[in-house]
Symmetry: C2
Amino acid sequence: MELLDGKKTSLDIQNELSEKVKSLVANGTNPPHLVAVLVGDDGASRTYVNAKVKACERIGFKSTLHHLSSDTSEIELLKVIKSLNEDHSVDGFIVQLPLPNHIEDHKITLAISPNKDVDGFHPENVGKMALGLPTFLPATPNGVMELLKRYEIPTEGKNTVVIGRSSIVGTPMSILMSRKSNPGNSTVTLAHSRTKNLEQICKQADILIVAIGIPEFVTSDMVKPNAVVIDVGIHRIEDTSKKNGFRLIGDVNFSEVSKKCSYITPVPGGVGPMTIASLLMNTYIACNERN
Amino acid sequence: MELLDGKKTSLDIQNELSEKVKSLVANGTNPPHLVAVLVGDDGASRTYVNAKVKACERIGFKSTLHHLSSDTSEIELLKVIKSLNEDHSVDGFIVQLPLPNHIEDHKITLAISPNKDVDGFHPENVGKMALGLPTFLPATPNGVMELLKRYEIPTEGKNTVVIGRSSIVGTPMSILMSRKSNPGNSTVTLAHSRTKNLEQICKQADILIVAIGIPEFVTSDMVKPNAVVIDVGIHRIEDTSKKNGFRLIGDVNFSEVSKKCSYITPVPGGVGPMTIASLLMNTYIACNERN
């Protein structure tokens, strides 16, 4: 078994981007500028946003964090988005999800200009992805694709099973893996909460991508020997042996499954850091297209 | 074995729409207006477009056919599209594909205003479909969904295999069948030219949707007993016993497969007429949204 080291790969990508930024700046161009909008005080959201902002700083991107209070109205948030859409100094921006209950996520997603939507969530970008047109690919699925590419995992003609059909991970993941591309060209099965015989379906997977949101859901009896296992889940569980009182686990029972598969992403240090790398790549593309 | 009679179902839908149009007009509203743009003289394209125009007339929609010569330039076609986008008397319009080689299909698709795109091909509409937001669903896959719905074919938790990953049929078909909806909620596998063990994969399908574009590709040994078989293909083959010298066949070997399955769409008279019904439904929706 070999680890698909998302942390290392993400740093590799960040170093590559850092070099590119240096030559941009040497040529008198402004560095890419990412704005992150955070509404409210959800601990996990704050951690994610901070990690994105820090990664920007590390590689020489400009970054700005708009932290709005949890009672920000939908109209106020839409005004912020409008000003970011119109601000020529901003290459791309993200609104961290989930939003407080009084704001409808999809109204916000629709308001973001598709050419600044570096999360790749706007319907126009999702559609372009499905149609194989150039676009901002959604950060998490694209991060997984990049990881498969850099580890040279063969995907063509393989049976890929994706568990979970969310708009931001499972569904786009299944589309990307089935497209005529490399990585891609897989025979993809999208499984979800209504799927019957899930164990049997998973056992046929050469590549198993798990984004179901249930801690340690996938056990070794669901995995084909030598499969490639990608774990998109991330959960905090209490662990009194740790200084901070918790540890992170994924949707896959790592200790069992890692003994049976050929490649696996760890949690943490797998898909998570790749999501950030993917966001930075999109921001760099947005900057390039604007110049 | 029971036939999924697309011809009859399409006429049922057209009769329903016809009644709705009558009450629209009785209330002083203009009837829905569909414009079809045809470039060049491809025989099959002309047949399809004429069938669409005729269906409009039959149910009281207004329809207009713009027939442009095959040497129409991309710029000229884009001008026509711009004027249709801006024409308030037009509820929806389609540009019949394929276009002559000197015009790029996707440039044309992108130019059509998403709220007049009753074929459902614009990326924004494809993306909304993938995200489960209300939109114009692509005509052929939506026609299949409507047929499954009206015949009350259970789809939830079923294994659905879609063969073919085209932008306008296979890919959207796989997305619609896996969405949280009824019909839908299927466990969908999208198979294509790079798929290995296709026969084995097809044999696991409770619902088999074939859009591969190869005459009589699916034989009875690829079909699970009592499967539901949807044949999206349509091919003209020479037949000297017929008055016009040809007959139409699908992607499925009907005479073999029909003996083994529970439901099957015939060719002709299956998916084809449903595509037209779906286009008319979208045009009616477009008209309603404008008023």
